[in-house]
Amino acid sequence: MAGRPMWENPLRAPVAYGRLAVPQLFAELQSPEPEKKLRALASLQDLLHDPERLYPTVTKGYVEKMKLLLEDEDPSVRSKTCEVLGLLCTHSLGRQVLLSSPLLSSLFWLLDDPSSPCRKNVLRVLKLLTLHPSGADALLTLVPKLLLKLQQQQQQEEGEQISVEEEKKVEVNEEEKVDEENQQEQREGLKMEQTEEVKDVKEEEEEEELLVLSLISCCSRRDALPALSSDAVSVLKPRLTHPCTHIRREATAAMMALSVPMAGKHRLCEEAMLPLLVGLLRDEDVHVRTNTVGVIMYTVITTAGKLQCLKLNVVSALLDLLTEAPPFKKAPRLMEEKERWTRKALVLYSLRALTSLAEAPEGRRLLMEQLPLLRRSCEEEEDAEVIRAAHAAIEVVTWTP
């Protein structure tokens, strides 16, 4: 590489000093070559970490110039632009500017982009946008589209699953015949390669699915009605039993957001989701369990939900959850604090669900038997909220008309 000084990085455009850095990079972005654009975008990415540089960029309206880049032909340019926009969205001023700019429609359009990294970056940007409530409002219109995407993906997966199952059947038949070991190994080797390739693609798809699900749950927390009207419950149903933990987490979180309004609760009861959810109560991941208990907590408020749950013997499951969580103490470190809060959430939600269940006569009867357990947990706990919840539960259980 003769002629190039050592300190020049081929991946980054040279950055001018001081105030001229950002305008010069933007000028370089106008050039037609994609490599130059990539380099300039990479340098911009490095620069815009600093809020001092970011604020003038955002306030002087350079952001609109990125619109052209979003419609560029080269997919790597598009995905890099989305990364830079993601950096912008980490600051609230950037979020506001982005929301009020015409870039939003281009971003929506880019969701259907053929290149996967581009789509993922767009989803990340949108997820950061939901940190602001007006951002979540703006994205509510996007929710039906996202659900449609999930549906399509689900159909695709089903189609793949069927073909995979067929393949497996064929393979089983072949293996029944007498095979030499070499042939078997060869086939297994091929299978491994194939599964690895398929795995990579699958991982990317899963990541995307994860992002879409988290976006849906963020928007639904703001207002769950658009999602419900686009039939979100049935779309989320298969994802509850997905092998990947993260997807299950996000699906249950979305379900919890959906079950807040009354329409959602009715929907859940209609679609017979409760058996699935009760099954999920014994899941390994704490977060999945917490979210599931949250869903149950909300659903059980309706009478139909109560009856269904009592039929499914939810009470014993919830009591198990209560007893397995140890009493809480104040944790000094942040990680422990986080864990403590997740377990606390679990306990709180189960107590609330039990409170709602206790309003039904059968539930009350069941819980009267378990009353000493509740009292004991009430006395042992140090945490104020848990004590309060336990008191409320005991009150409801011992209420007589």
């Binding site: 919890m256 807040v260 809060w341 919840a389």
Partner: protein, 322 residues
């Protein structure tokens, strides 16, 4: 003599000079102190005026430095004048008078020891021969006598520049800055994480409270509906009771009133003629009307006959009158 030139110093110290134009006077070298009559020379015969072509004239540049030739000439002339002056003075110095006739002046020595005054200097020749030239031996090294103290100095390795010592401040700055930056970033992330944790905790509590609120709402709704239903039921029950009471009362009353209903009914019916003998009725309905008709017809006939008669008698009466 009028004032041809005028110069004065101003009040502020500015010097000014002005003069009326005048012809140049020709003054001879001997200065006549009195000015009897201004002699104007002819400009044509004035030595100071340059005549002829001035293009090839060598002229002294108007600098202050005079030409070296000029200087020398001046010096020579000065010397000559000084010599002439000295000579003049010498001539006027008092000297010994001239000798008397027949005598000659002679210079005589009057010191104690007489010296021969002669112009011939006593000389003697001496010869001397040196050896054949030897090479000049080299001058011995001039070593001045030792004075002062002997002092040595040697720069050991690491004396002038010790890397470890020198690098210390640089390292401190680099490491310190890196640490500072990383600490800042970590603190930022920690802050963000704690913010998120707080948010999460808040969300959990909020969900809980929301569930509680919804539960209580549901409870309220249920109880309200229950209450309303019960009220409705109660009302229904009341209404029904009232109805039954009324019914019972009505029944009793009607029973009472209807006790002697039957005989009265029958009586009234009988009086109204609803129980009848069919033969009688038949006679009444068929026979009697026929009879009446016949009678009526008969009577009518008689009536008409009588009327006719009356009429004729009337007309005849009338005719009769007229």
């Amino acid at each position: 003599n009028k004032m041809a030139s005028y110069s004065h110093r101003d009040r502020s110290g500015i010097y000014s000079f002005s003069s009326r134009p005048r012809a140049v006077e020709d003054r001879s070298r001997t200065l006549p102190p009195e000015k009897s009559r201004p002699m104007y020379g002819n400009i044509m015969f004035d030595r100071r005026v340059v005549r002829g072509n001035t293009y090839s004239q060598h002229f002294r540049p108007s600098t202050a430095q005079p030409d070296p030739a000029e200087i020398r000439r001046e010096q020579v002339s000065k010397q000559r004048t000084s010599a002439r002056r000295r000579a003049r003075e010498q001539l006027l110095q008092p000297t010994t008078p001239e000798p008397v006739q027949g005598r000659k002046h002679m210079d005589v020595q009057t010191e104690l020891y007489l010296e021969e005054l002669s112009h011939v200097v006593v000389t003697a020749d001496m010869e001397c021969q040196s050896d054949a030239f030897l090479d000049r031996p080299p001058t011995p090294l001039f070593i001045p006598a030792k004075s002062g103290k002997d002092v040595e100095t040697q720069i050991e390795e690491g004396e002038l520049f010790d890397f470890d010592v020198e690098v210390q401040p640089l390292l401190e700055v680099l490491v310190g800055k890196t640490m500072e930056q990383s600490m800042l970033e970590v603190m930022e992330e920690e802050e963000l994480a704690s913010l998120r944790a707080q948010q999460k905790a808040f969300k959990v509590l909020r969900n809980m409270e929301q569930a509680e609120v919804q539960r209580l709402q549901e409870q309220e709704r249920r109880r309200r509906e229950e209450r309303e239903r019960r009220i409705m039921q109660q009302r229904e029950a009341l209404r029904k009771e009232k109805e039954t009471v009324e019914k019972i009362a009505a029944r009793a009353y009607t029973q009472q009133s209807l006790v002697d209903l039957l005989p009265t009914v029958f009586n009234s019916l009988r009086t109204h003629g609803y129980f009848y003998d069919p033969v009688e009725r038949d006679i009444e309905t068929n026979f009697i009307p026929w009879l009446m008709e016949e009678v009526h017809k008969n009577l009518e006939k008689r009536e008409t006959a009588r009327k006719l008669l009356d009429g004729r008698t009337n007309t005849t009466r009338l005719c009769f009158l007229f």
